[in-house]
């Protein structure tokens, strides 16, 4: 394996405008296609489009897939439980980002 102690690496920025195929999704999360299909059936991830047999996903699905995998293997929850946890985590994320915008005057002042 090569060392990269001092060289600077430039990466490629990807976000939800970047789509990945089901094959890439499986590779990035080290799972079989059957599991991805179960995640879709459970409504945890949703393909952005389909072309022939090939499903395309927004890249954020990798994050959701990984979290579900971890929750399942680490906490022993089933697919539905993981889906629920993921939904609650999303809600916490949204509330926290709203909180940080609304409540940034930390002195606890009255707001209109």
């Amino acid at each position: 394996m090569t060392e990269h102690e001092n060289s600077m690496i430039e990466g490629q920025v990807i976000d939800d405008s970047t789509e990945i195929t089901i094959v890439q999704l499986c590779r990035r999360c080290a799972v079989e296609t059957e599991l991805v299909e179960r995640l879709v059936a459970e409504g945890i991830i949703e393909p952005s489009r389909q072309e022939g047999d090939m499903l395309y996903f927004p890249q954020s699905c990798t994050r959701r897939t990984r979290i579900v995998l971890r929750l399942r293997s680490d906490l022993g929850v089933n697919m539905a439980g993981a889906a629920l946890a993921l939904e609650l985590l999303d809600r916490i994320d949204r509330l926290q980002s709203r909180l940080s915008v609304v409540a940034s005057p930390v002195r606890g002042r009255n707001r209109r």
Partner: protein, 316 residues
């Protein structure tokens, strides 16, 4: 090598039943799971917990661990007793994918790959692609305004010459592109898990997040700032200087602006093809009434303004 007190890690007594151990694990796992927990050291704690549980849930491993005696202190210098591996029988632990635990664990219960397995395993034409890997990187908001270079420390499991798995510290200098926002990922080609044989290396994906900032908050590409202003700046209007990561700006406050008024400065949010906006939220701070002059002015305001902020509150 440091001794690890697995009972202490799991918060159970040395004579805890297997049921109690399982229960303690479930409880702590929910608390420290990195996807769920809010504490900064959750990842570390969770890994430690997993290691402790891997030993204590397995009656054979637990018995072997108990044989070391209870006189050890966590963190104490430790060497396995002579002939440990042979007598305990954990030497040739099976290979495959699993978590890499502490050196303490590895020395007691064997590495992920046995040397025998390795000798027979990889022939000349064997190849496999490396795994894609994921890491999280926290940057400052200013880094997105200007672009930056961040140095990243990664623990990379590697198979040593003796066939066992070691953690190697690896440093990557990564370019943080201007205009990056939370939730985006930086893909570093070929920086993931190494391939075997002629297999190609996996990619490393860095998920970007912003470090909490004392003044600025980010939503998408829009940046929010709560700006303290005086009552006369808010009331009479005027220009105030606002420090923004992209450089100071002169903000015009319209006259008769109240507490909490939101002013939009177009294009001064995170840069990009479509730059975000900067939202300045006015926070009117009243001066302390700690001088004769201040008390006089507050008195004049009371007498002349007839202002009642509670007029909308009705007793029901």
């Amino acid at each position: 090598m440091k001794y690890k007190d697995y009972y202490d890690v799991m918060g159970v007594s040395r004579d805890a039943s297997q049921d109690e151990i399982k229960k303690a694990y479930r409880k702590l796992a929910r608390k420290y799971h990195p996807d769920v927990s809010e504490s900064d050291d959750a990842g570390e704690r969770f890994k430690e917990l997993g290691e402790a549980y891997a030993v204590l849930k397995d009656p054979e491993k637990r018995e072997a661990y108990d044989q070391l005696g209870s006189d050890w202190q966590a963190g104490q210098e430790f060497r396995p007793p002579p002939g440990w591996q042979e007598s305990a029988g954990f030497g040739g632990a099976a290979g495959g994918q699993r978590e890499h635990y502490s050196d303490f664990f590895e020395d007691l219960f064997g590495g992920g790959f046995s040397s025998q397995g390795r000798a027979g395993g990889f022939r000349g034409n064997f190849q496999a692609d490396g795994q894609d890997q994921q890491a999280r990187i926290l940057i400052d908001i200013g880094d997105s305004y200007h672009g930056a270079t961040r140095s990243l420390q990664l623990q990379v499991p590697e198979i040593g010459d003796d066939g066992r798995v070691y953690n190697r510290q690896r440093t990557l200098n990564v370019k943080i592109p201007r205009g990056i926002k939370a939730g985006q990922q930086i893909r570093l080609k070929g920086q993931g898990g190494p391939g075997l044989g002629d297999g190609r290396s996996g990619d490393l994906y860095l998920e970007v997040g912003f470090r909490p900032d004392d003044h600025f908050r980010v939503e998408g590409r829009d940046v929010y700032l709560t700006l303290p202003v005086t009552p006369w700046e808010a009331g009479l209007g005027g220009k105030v200087n606002v420090p923004v990561p992209s450089g100071d700006i002169d903000l015009s406050i319209p006259a008769n602006s109240g507490q909490g008024r939101k002013l939009r400065v177009r294009g001064k949010g995170l840069p990009g093809r479509e730059a975000g906006d900067l939202f300045v939220i006015l926070d009117v701070i009243c001066p302390p009434a700690d001088s004769e002059a201040a008390r006089r002015i507050y008195g004049e305001m009371r007498d002349e303004l007839g202002f009642d902020p509670r007029s909308g509150m009705r007793r029901s």
